[in-house]
């Protein structure tokens, strides 16, 4: 495997970059030899499509191992088990599965996530209240350890749960075994509902848990910040629809001199249109429903050179008051979000670093250029922690390291498992350094 010179690489938020070398994995045997022989002082980190927003997939001065070429997918239609390479994407798995009238039970908001990434973040989707996070449908992980050995971990192994949500810091996911679900068609029966404010939204989302496989709400975080929005509810449909091949990435945004297009005014205008747009009711292609933003190739560029951050947190049911506090603060900052998403989670997984757990999760996008945003979020984190909430690490680029063990109380247990799996600390990321994760 060839190693490139150091080159600047940034996360999906495009807000900062670090310099690392890259090596591309072409076969498991090569990869195994590469990892066994090399012990670079700045460490190794497996990476996929760099959809993590912050520095989870960066490794300043170290080597990133590009996994996307190890992307084989084999599906047994009888057992509904898929054996998938660590570099295969969710989108590719969906295509292969749909051809057999199957579908992954848990898919995130973008299809451009590799299996390795999906495990490392323990991603979740609109079905979380029914299915839990990604690890729920994973039966087995084949992991390349720092020693160069390949180990297979089942759900009963602690190493399985250290790897789930483990931010790529326990080893390289070579292959996963995923249990797919049967679907009757390639479509979701969708019903959308406009709601005037946050309490209506919370009420409707809460009531829809039982009856709908997929629930999510788009929330308008601009203007008066009352939390109006559109609640989208869906169930797997029975009649297929024509759908675009998701392999064609759709249009790309032109990059106009790195300018930021998300201002309070444009966000407000966008949100107004989004709120008024005709509601979808009826059959929508699964892939389109699950990954609405994948239609535009590089939507992250609209924030220009300063980049943006995505802030996602979860808070227990009963702590909804925190939203009002947040909205009031954001209104004070004149910070308008172009993408606000509210979702009710079901119970979490047993992985120490997995993010989702029962409660409300809210996701916001902000340009890094919003004045006072850093301090505001720092203060908000304190309140979040005081109320027992936590943030999603795969989207983080700014958390105070001090708060990490409070948000993730099982961090030390994870650290012990990780030290046993990687005694010399071969797997490293900028996020791990910044947050002193390991």
């Amino acid at each position: 495997m060839q190693i490139t010179d150091l080159q600047p690489i940034s996360g999906w938020g495009n807000n900062f970059h670090s310099r690392s070398a890259r090596a591309t994995a072409t076969s498991i045997a090569d990869l195994q030899e590469f990892v066994a022989k090399l012990a670079p002082s700045r460490g190794l980190l497996p990476v996929g499509l760099h959809r993590s927003y912050g520095d989870s997939a960066l490794n300043s001065g170290g080597i990133l191992i590009d996994m996307v070429a190890l992307n084989q997918i084999e599906i047994d239609p009888l057992t509904r088990i898929a054996v998938v390479g660590g570099g295969a994407t969710i989108a590719a798995l969906e295509r292969a599965a749909l051809a057999q009238s199957l579908f992954p039970p848990v898919v995130p908001g973008t299809g451009f996530v590799t299996m390795g990434g999906a495990i490392a973040a323990d991603i979740h989707g609109k079905s979380h209240h029914k299915t839990g996070s990604f690890s729920h449908c994973v039966r087995r992980i084949s992991l390349l350890l720092a020693s160069g050995e390949i180990a297979v971990f089942k759900r009963s192994d602690p190493e399985f749960w250290a790897t789930v949500g483990g931010l790529g810091l326990t080893g390289i996911v070579l292959e996963v075994e995923i249990e797919l679900r049967a679907v009757q068609s390639n479509a979701v029966d969708v019903s959308e509902h406009r709601v005037k404010n946050l309490s209506e939204m919370i009420d409707l989302l809460g009531r829809s848990d039982e009856d709908y496989e997929h629930t999510v709400a788009w929330i308008d975080l601009s203007g008066d910040y009352r939390g109006r929005g559109v609640v989208s509810l869906g169930n797997y449909g029975s009649t297929s629809v024509k759908s675009k091949d998701s392999r064609s990435n759709g249009p790309s945004l032109p990059s106009i001199a790195g300018k930021n297009f998300i201002t309070p005014l444009s966000a407000r205008a966008f949100n107004e249109i989004w709120f008024r747009k005709p509601l979808k009711n009826g059959a929508v292609a699964l892939t389109q429903y699950m990954h609405p933003l994948d239609g535009v190739n590089n939507w992250n560029r609209i924030y220009g050179d300063s980049g943006f951050l995505q802030y996602q947190f979860v808070i227990d049911i009963g702590q909804e008051e925190i939203f009002e506090r947040l909205f009031a603060g954001l209104r004070g900052l004149k910070a308008a979000s172009f993408l606000g998403v509210l979702k009710k989670f079901g119970p979490g997984s047993q992985a120490p670093l997995s993010f989702p757990r029962a409660g409300w999760t809210l996701t916001l996008d902000y340009s890094m250029a919003v004045p006072g945003l850093e301090k505001f979020l720092r203060d908000f984190d304190e309140e979040l922690v005081a109320r027992g909430g936590r943030i999603y690490l795969i989207k983080d680029s700014r958390l105070d390291a001090r708060l990490l063990p409070i948000m993730y109380p099982e961090l030390n247990r994870w650290r012990e498992m990780r030290s046993a799996m990687d005694p010399h600390g071969v797997w490293k990321s900028d996020q791990a350094r910044r947050l002193q994760i390991c």
């Binding site: 807000n15 900062f16 300043s60 890094m368 945003l373 850093e374 301090k375 350094r433 910044r434 002193q436």
Partner: protein, 233 residues
């Protein structure tokens, strides 16, 4: 590590006795929260700047617990100790300002190059523009530091490591107490503002105040008789 707002995680002030150095840290910490390591003559991170192995030990210590995002090197003596002879004073300014500073700079840059990120702020001086009778020994060391730092900054282009040079004029501080106040004099706090600007600037050299950039051109090219008269004041 820097965070998404480019705020620093860990930084070190080498020369904790320096008023300018402390003012720079105070200015940086107004908006941001970082772990600050204070390196002085005593304390956990003690350093005898004139001792080669002490410098090496310190740099190992600085990088042992994590990445360093910024090092401010603010060590220096004027070399005007009345109790010492001119040659003794000369040796001291060379040891501290030149040898000590440059060796530290080189050691830190080496480590930052491995981590592929980091900034070092070096404090030069207006005194390096042209020799003046009252401070040319000091000026010569600052000229040497400035020259080397510019070269190093060039060598490190594209490595992720940045070397920034601050060239203050007369700064009212305990180091200059009792001296006649020169034109364009600034306080340590004002100097710190320029230093913070220097750290994030794309340029290698920042003058404090900015106007000194032009004053320096005039100074450097002025005929000797006029310069002599002006510098005697």
């Amino acid at each position: 590590m820097l965070n998404g707002f480019k705020s620093m995680g860990r930084l070190a002030l080498i020369g904790s006795g320096s008023e300018i150095g402390q003012a720079i840290i105070a200015k940086l910490m107004e908006q941001k929260k970082s772990e600050v390591i204070q390196v002085g003559r005593t304390g956990e991170f003690a350093l005898d700047i004139t001792d080669k192995s002490a410098r090496e030990r310190l740099v190992n210590q600085l990088f042992a617990k994590g990445d360093l995002d910024l090092a401010v090197i603010a060590v220096g003596v004027l070399g005007n100790n009345a109790e010492k002879s001119a040659s003794e004073n000369l040796l001291e300014v060379i040891d501290v300002n030149y040898l000590g500073t440059l060796h530290l700079l080189a050691l830190i840059a080496e480590r930052m190059k491995i981590q592929a990120h980091g900034t070092v702020l070096v404090i030069s001086s207006f005194a390096q523009v042209r020799p003046r009778v009252d401070n040319f020994a000091y000026g010569s060391t600052k000229a040497g530091v400035d020259f080397y730092a510019r070269g190093l900054a060039e060598e490190l282009r594209g490595s992720g490591v940045e070397i920034k040079i601050l060239r203050p004029g007369f700064v009212k501080s305990k180091m200059t107490a009792g001296m006649a106040i020169a034109p364009f004099a600034i306080t340590s706090d004002e100097c710190a503002k320029y230093a913070v600007r220097a750290i994030t600037s794309k340029k290698v050299v920042t003058w404090a105040p900015s106007l000194l950039k032009y004053v320096a051109v005039v100074f450097a090219t002025m005929p000797a008789p006029i310069f002599r008269r002006i510098s005697q004041r």
